[in-house]
Protein backbone atom coordinates (compact mmCIF):
# COMPACT_ATOMS: atom_id res chain seq x y z
CA UNK A 1 0.00 0.00 0.00
CA UNK A 2 1.23 3.50 -0.80
CA UNK A 3 1.06 6.80 1.08
CA UNK A 4 -1.43 8.02 -1.52
CA UNK A 5 -3.76 5.15 -0.75
CA UNK A 6 -3.72 5.64 3.02
CA UNK A 7 -4.32 9.37 2.54
CA UNK A 8 -7.43 8.51 0.55
CA UNK A 9 -8.66 5.68 2.77
CA UNK A 10 -8.09 7.48 6.09
CA UNK A 11 -8.97 10.97 4.81
CA UNK A 12 -5.63 12.46 5.85
CA UNK A 13 -4.44 16.00 5.26
CA UNK A 14 -1.24 16.49 3.29
CA UNK A 15 0.97 19.28 4.66
CA UNK A 16 4.05 18.47 2.60
CA UNK A 17 5.34 15.89 0.16
CA UNK A 18 2.18 15.12 -1.82
CA UNK A 19 4.41 14.48 -4.82
CA UNK A 20 6.12 11.63 -2.96
CA UNK A 21 2.89 9.85 -2.14
CA UNK A 22 3.31 6.97 -4.55
CA UNK A 23 5.92 5.52 -2.22
CA UNK A 24 5.23 2.02 -0.92
CA UNK A 25 4.83 1.74 2.88
CA UNK A 26 6.60 -0.91 4.93
CA UNK A 27 4.53 -0.39 8.09
CA UNK A 28 4.02 2.07 10.91
CA UNK A 29 5.69 3.24 14.12
CA UNK A 30 4.08 5.06 17.07
CA UNK A 31 6.11 7.12 19.54
CA UNK A 32 6.41 10.67 20.86
CA UNK A 33 9.95 10.27 22.11
CA UNK A 34 12.21 11.24 19.24
CA UNK A 35 15.16 9.36 20.69
CA UNK A 36 13.04 6.20 20.57
CA UNK A 37 12.09 6.80 16.95
CA UNK A 38 15.75 7.31 16.06
CA UNK A 39 16.56 3.97 17.61
CA UNK A 40 13.65 1.85 16.48
CA UNK A 41 11.64 3.13 13.52
CA UNK A 42 12.46 1.51 10.20
CA UNK A 43 12.77 2.76 6.65
CA UNK A 44 9.51 3.20 4.77
CA UNK A 45 7.29 3.36 7.87
CA UNK A 46 4.63 5.94 8.68
CA UNK A 47 5.47 7.61 11.99
CA UNK A 48 2.42 8.54 14.06
CA UNK A 49 3.12 11.27 16.66
CA UNK A 50 1.89 14.42 18.36
CA UNK A 51 5.34 16.01 18.35
CA UNK A 52 5.61 18.82 15.82
CA UNK A 53 9.04 20.22 16.67
CA UNK A 54 11.31 20.74 13.64
CA UNK A 55 13.40 17.79 14.79
CA UNK A 56 10.68 15.38 13.60
CA UNK A 57 11.68 16.30 10.05
CA UNK A 58 15.36 15.66 10.69
CA UNK A 59 14.59 12.28 12.19
CA UNK A 60 12.15 11.24 9.46
CA UNK A 61 14.82 12.15 6.91
CA UNK A 62 17.58 10.35 8.81
CA UNK A 63 15.51 7.16 9.15
CA UNK A 64 14.07 7.44 5.61
CA UNK A 65 10.53 7.18 6.91
CA UNK A 66 7.71 7.28 4.37
CA UNK A 67 5.79 9.97 6.25
CA UNK A 68 5.11 11.70 9.55
CA UNK A 69 1.44 11.56 10.56
CA UNK A 70 0.45 14.26 13.08
CA UNK A 71 -2.57 13.42 15.25
CA UNK A 72 -5.37 15.39 16.96
CA UNK A 73 -5.43 18.18 14.40
CA UNK A 74 -1.91 19.33 15.25
CA UNK A 75 -0.40 21.34 12.41
CA UNK A 76 3.28 21.91 11.65
CA UNK A 77 4.33 25.56 11.78
CA UNK A 78 5.79 27.40 8.79
CA UNK A 79 9.42 26.70 9.60
CA UNK A 80 8.71 22.97 9.96
CA UNK A 81 6.87 22.87 6.64
CA UNK A 82 9.75 24.66 4.94
CA UNK A 83 12.30 22.28 6.41
CA UNK A 84 10.20 19.27 5.37
CA UNK A 85 10.06 20.58 1.78
CA UNK A 86 13.83 21.05 1.76
CA UNK A 87 14.42 17.56 3.09
CA UNK A 88 11.76 15.90 0.95
CA UNK A 89 9.81 14.69 3.97
CA UNK A 90 6.09 13.97 3.77
CA UNK A 91 3.94 15.34 6.62
CA UNK A 92 0.35 14.18 6.94
CA UNK A 93 -2.33 15.05 9.48
CA UNK A 94 -5.51 13.72 11.02
CA UNK A 95 -8.01 15.03 13.56
CA UNK A 96 -8.19 11.62 15.22
CA UNK A 97 -6.14 10.63 18.25
CA UNK A 98 -3.21 8.25 18.16
CA UNK A 99 -5.16 5.19 19.31
CA UNK A 100 -7.89 5.55 16.71
CA UNK A 101 -5.74 6.36 13.71
CA UNK A 102 -3.21 3.68 14.59
CA UNK A 103 -5.96 1.08 14.78
CA UNK A 104 -7.35 2.12 11.43
CA UNK A 105 -3.94 2.16 9.78
CA UNK A 106 -3.06 -1.24 11.20
CA UNK A 107 -6.25 -2.78 9.80
CA UNK A 108 -5.68 -1.11 6.46
CA UNK A 109 -2.08 -2.26 6.09
CA UNK A 110 -2.86 -5.78 7.27
CA UNK A 111 -5.95 -6.54 5.24
CA UNK A 112 -5.52 -9.21 2.62
Amino acid sequence: MTTEEIVRELELKIFTGGELASRELSGGYVSDLLSDVMGHAKEGEVWITLQSHANVVAIASLKELAAILLVKGIEPDGAVVEKAREEGVTILGTNEDTYTITGKLFLLLNKE
Partner: protein
Protein backbone atom coordinates in the same frame (compact mmCIF):
# COMPACT_ATOMS: atom_id res chain seq x y z
CA UNK B 1 38.59 37.00 39.50
CA UNK B 2 36.91 35.14 42.31
CA UNK B 3 35.68 31.60 42.61
CA UNK B 4 32.15 30.83 43.75
CA UNK B 5 30.59 27.44 44.34
CA UNK B 6 27.11 27.26 42.88
CA UNK B 7 24.22 24.80 42.73
CA UNK B 8 21.69 26.24 40.29
CA UNK B 9 18.95 23.61 40.34
CA UNK B 10 17.05 23.19 43.60
CA UNK B 11 13.33 22.45 44.13
CA UNK B 12 11.28 23.74 47.02
CA UNK B 13 8.07 22.40 48.53
CA UNK B 14 6.26 24.32 45.77
CA UNK B 15 7.30 21.62 43.31
CA UNK B 16 4.91 18.67 43.59
CA UNK B 17 7.85 16.33 44.06
CA UNK B 18 9.72 18.64 46.47
CA UNK B 19 9.96 17.33 50.04
CA UNK B 20 7.87 19.12 52.67
CA UNK B 21 11.09 20.13 54.45
CA UNK B 22 12.16 22.13 51.38
CA UNK B 23 11.14 25.57 52.61
CA UNK B 24 13.16 28.58 51.44
CA UNK B 25 14.45 29.02 55.01
CA UNK B 26 15.66 25.42 55.33
CA UNK B 27 17.16 25.46 51.84
CA UNK B 28 19.35 28.53 52.34
CA UNK B 29 20.46 27.25 55.75
CA UNK B 30 21.52 23.94 54.24
CA UNK B 31 23.22 25.74 51.36
CA UNK B 32 25.22 27.82 53.85
CA UNK B 33 26.15 24.68 55.79
CA UNK B 34 27.39 23.08 52.55
CA UNK B 35 29.53 26.11 51.76
CA UNK B 36 27.62 27.22 48.67
CA UNK B 37 28.02 30.83 47.53
CA UNK B 38 25.26 30.84 44.92
CA UNK B 39 22.08 28.80 44.52
CA UNK B 40 19.07 29.01 42.23
CA UNK B 41 15.59 28.01 43.31
CA UNK B 42 14.03 26.34 40.30
CA UNK B 43 10.56 24.96 40.90
CA UNK B 44 8.58 23.23 38.17
CA UNK B 45 6.80 25.86 36.08
CA UNK B 46 6.53 28.38 38.94
CA UNK B 47 8.60 31.18 40.49
CA UNK B 48 6.60 31.52 43.72
CA UNK B 49 9.47 30.92 46.15
CA UNK B 50 12.14 32.98 44.40
CA UNK B 51 11.85 36.28 46.31
CA UNK B 52 11.66 34.82 49.81
CA UNK B 53 14.60 32.55 49.05
CA UNK B 54 16.68 35.51 47.90
CA UNK B 55 15.79 37.55 50.98
CA UNK B 56 16.63 34.75 53.37
CA UNK B 57 19.74 33.75 51.44
CA UNK B 58 21.12 37.29 51.58
CA UNK B 59 21.06 37.12 55.39
CA UNK B 60 23.40 34.12 55.22
CA UNK B 61 25.69 35.51 52.56
CA UNK B 62 24.22 33.43 49.75
CA UNK B 63 23.17 34.91 46.43
CA UNK B 64 19.93 33.29 45.29
CA UNK B 65 19.32 33.51 41.56
CA UNK B 66 15.68 33.80 40.51
CA UNK B 67 14.39 31.07 38.26
CA UNK B 68 12.19 28.11 37.44
CA UNK B 69 12.55 24.74 35.79
CA UNK B 70 10.00 24.92 33.01
CA UNK B 71 8.54 22.02 31.06
CA UNK B 72 8.05 22.77 27.36
CA UNK B 73 5.36 21.42 25.04
CA UNK B 74 7.80 18.68 23.99
CA UNK B 75 8.25 17.86 27.71
CA UNK B 76 11.84 19.05 27.72
CA UNK B 77 12.85 20.45 31.12
CA UNK B 78 14.74 23.74 30.92
CA UNK B 79 16.24 25.96 33.60
CA UNK B 80 15.42 29.65 33.35
CA UNK B 81 17.19 32.33 35.35
CA UNK B 82 16.25 35.96 35.99
CA UNK B 83 17.85 38.98 37.59
CA UNK B 84 15.23 41.45 38.74
CA UNK B 85 11.87 41.41 40.53
CA UNK B 86 10.31 42.93 37.44
CA UNK B 87 11.59 40.19 35.14
CA UNK B 88 10.41 37.58 37.61
CA UNK B 89 6.90 39.06 37.85
CA UNK B 90 6.52 39.33 34.10
CA UNK B 91 7.79 35.79 33.59
CA UNK B 92 5.30 34.45 36.16
CA UNK B 93 2.51 36.26 34.31
CA UNK B 94 3.71 34.70 31.05
CA UNK B 95 3.65 31.28 32.73
CA UNK B 96 0.06 31.88 33.89
CA UNK B 97 -0.97 32.40 30.27
CA UNK B 98 0.77 29.23 29.14
CA UNK B 99 -0.34 26.65 31.68
CA UNK B 100 -2.34 23.64 30.58
CA UNK B 101 -4.53 23.71 33.69
CA UNK B 102 -5.20 20.27 35.10
CA UNK B 103 -6.18 20.03 38.80
CA UNK B 104 -3.35 18.74 41.01
CA UNK B 105 -4.20 15.47 42.75
CA UNK B 106 -2.11 15.86 45.91
CA UNK B 107 -2.43 12.18 46.86
CA UNK B 108 -0.70 11.18 43.63
CA UNK B 109 1.66 14.06 42.93
CA UNK B 110 2.22 15.83 46.25
CA UNK B 111 1.49 19.33 47.51
CA UNK B 112 2.35 22.59 45.74
CA UNK B 113 2.71 25.04 48.56
CA UNK B 114 4.06 28.56 48.93
CA UNK B 115 5.16 29.38 52.48
CA UNK B 116 6.33 32.50 54.30
CA UNK B 117 9.33 33.11 56.52
CA UNK B 118 7.60 31.43 59.46
CA UNK B 119 6.88 28.42 57.24
CA UNK B 120 3.17 29.13 57.30
CA UNK B 121 1.26 28.25 54.15
CA UNK B 122 0.50 31.37 52.14
CA UNK B 123 -0.91 29.77 49.01
CA UNK B 124 -1.52 26.37 47.49
CA UNK B 125 -1.31 26.13 43.71
CA UNK B 126 -4.37 24.14 42.65
CA UNK B 127 -3.46 23.24 39.09
CA UNK B 128 -0.72 20.73 38.46
CA UNK B 129 2.71 22.20 37.78
CA UNK B 130 3.69 18.94 36.13
CA UNK B 131 2.34 19.17 32.54
CA UNK B 132 4.24 20.82 29.70
CA UNK B 133 3.50 24.48 29.03
CA UNK B 134 2.02 25.63 25.74
CA UNK B 135 5.44 26.91 24.63
CA UNK B 136 7.71 24.92 22.38
CA UNK B 137 11.34 24.91 23.54
CA UNK B 138 12.14 27.59 20.95
CA UNK B 139 9.26 29.82 22.03
CA UNK B 140 10.24 29.42 25.68
CA UNK B 141 13.84 30.42 24.97
CA UNK B 142 12.61 33.47 23.08
CA UNK B 143 10.36 34.62 25.94
CA UNK B 144 13.16 34.17 28.47
CA UNK B 145 15.73 36.02 26.36
CA UNK B 146 13.36 38.89 25.55
CA UNK B 147 13.03 39.47 29.28
CA UNK B 148 16.81 39.44 29.71
CA UNK B 149 16.92 36.03 31.37
CA UNK B 150 19.09 32.97 30.81
CA UNK B 151 17.98 29.69 29.25
CA UNK B 152 19.66 26.38 30.08
CA UNK B 153 18.16 23.03 28.97
CA UNK B 154 18.21 20.78 32.06
CA UNK B 155 19.78 17.32 32.42
CA UNK B 156 19.84 16.98 28.63
CA UNK B 157 21.31 13.48 28.74
CA UNK B 158 18.89 12.02 31.30
CA UNK B 159 16.47 9.31 30.21
CA UNK B 160 13.37 11.28 31.20
CA UNK B 161 12.44 14.84 30.20
CA UNK B 162 15.89 15.61 28.80
CA UNK B 163 16.43 17.29 25.46
CA UNK B 164 17.90 14.18 23.86
CA UNK B 165 15.22 11.77 25.07
CA UNK B 166 12.43 14.07 23.87
CA UNK B 167 13.92 15.58 20.72
CA UNK B 168 16.49 12.99 19.67
CA UNK B 169 19.04 15.50 18.43
CA UNK B 170 20.10 19.04 19.37
CA UNK B 171 17.79 21.46 17.51
CA UNK B 172 19.88 23.47 15.00
CA UNK B 173 18.44 26.79 16.10
CA UNK B 174 18.53 26.23 19.87
CA UNK B 175 19.28 29.46 21.75
CA UNK B 176 20.84 28.16 24.96
CA UNK B 177 23.23 30.11 27.20
CA UNK B 178 24.63 26.86 28.60
CA UNK B 179 23.53 23.25 28.94
CA UNK B 180 23.02 21.23 32.11
CA UNK B 181 24.14 17.62 32.07
CA UNK B 182 23.00 14.97 34.50
CA UNK B 183 24.81 15.12 37.84
CA UNK B 184 25.93 11.49 37.61
CA UNK B 185 27.94 11.89 34.42
CA UNK B 186 31.09 13.85 33.58
CA UNK B 187 31.66 16.52 30.96
CA UNK B 188 33.97 14.19 29.10
CA UNK B 189 31.43 11.37 28.98
CA UNK B 190 28.62 13.71 27.92
CA UNK B 191 30.71 15.18 25.09
CA UNK B 192 31.71 11.72 23.93
CA UNK B 193 28.10 10.66 23.73
CA UNK B 194 26.84 13.93 22.24
CA UNK B 195 29.71 15.72 20.44
CA UNK B 196 27.37 18.60 19.54
CA UNK B 197 27.51 19.65 23.22
CA UNK B 198 31.10 20.85 22.75
CA UNK B 199 29.84 24.28 21.68
CA UNK B 200 28.28 24.92 25.12
CA UNK B 201 29.42 25.43 28.69
CA UNK B 202 28.25 22.31 30.50
CA UNK B 203 27.00 22.75 34.06
CA UNK B 204 25.97 20.25 36.72
CA UNK B 205 23.65 20.75 39.66
CA UNK B 206 22.06 18.78 42.46
CA UNK B 207 18.43 18.87 41.20
CA UNK B 208 17.73 18.51 44.94
CA UNK B 209 14.23 17.60 46.08
CA UNK B 210 15.41 16.78 49.63
CA UNK B 211 17.49 18.95 51.98
CA UNK B 212 20.39 16.53 52.25
CA UNK B 213 20.81 16.54 48.45
CA UNK B 214 21.58 20.27 48.20
CA UNK B 215 25.12 20.75 46.94
CA UNK B 216 25.63 17.07 46.03
CA UNK B 217 26.59 18.42 42.61
CA UNK B 218 27.49 21.87 41.36
CA UNK B 219 30.29 23.89 39.77
CA UNK B 220 32.95 26.44 40.58
CA UNK B 221 32.25 29.72 38.80
CA UNK B 222 35.18 32.04 38.10
CA UNK B 223 33.81 35.57 37.89
CA UNK B 224 34.55 39.09 39.13
CA UNK B 225 31.52 39.32 41.41
CA UNK B 226 28.22 37.65 42.20
CA UNK B 227 25.80 39.33 39.85
CA UNK B 228 23.65 38.38 36.91
CA UNK B 229 25.86 39.86 34.21
CA UNK B 230 28.84 37.96 35.55
CA UNK B 231 26.76 34.78 35.68
CA UNK B 232 25.70 35.29 32.07
CA UNK B 233 29.32 35.74 30.98
CA UNK B 234 30.40 32.65 32.93
CA UNK B 235 27.65 30.49 31.43
CA UNK B 236 28.47 31.77 27.96
CA UNK B 237 32.22 31.45 28.52
CA UNK B 238 32.87 35.12 27.81
CA UNK B 239 35.67 37.50 28.87
CA UNK B 240 37.65 35.03 30.90
CA UNK B 241 34.73 33.92 33.06
CA UNK B 242 34.56 30.15 33.35
CA UNK B 243 32.61 27.34 34.91
CA UNK B 244 34.77 24.55 36.31
CA UNK B 245 33.94 21.08 37.55
CA UNK B 246 33.83 20.70 41.32
Amino acid sequence: MNTYVADLHIHTVLSPCGDLEMSPGNIVEKAAEKGLDIIAVTDHNHCGHARLSRELGAGLGIWVVYGAEINTREEVHCLTFFDTDEQLSIFQQELERNYVKIPNDTSLFGHQIIVDEQEQIVEEIKHSLYPGLKWSIGEAAEVVHKLGGLFVPAHVDRAGNGLFSQLGILPEDLEADAVEIWRRTTREAAKNEYPELKQYTLIQNSDAHFLEDIGRSGNRYTMKARNFNELRMALRGEKGRTVLEL
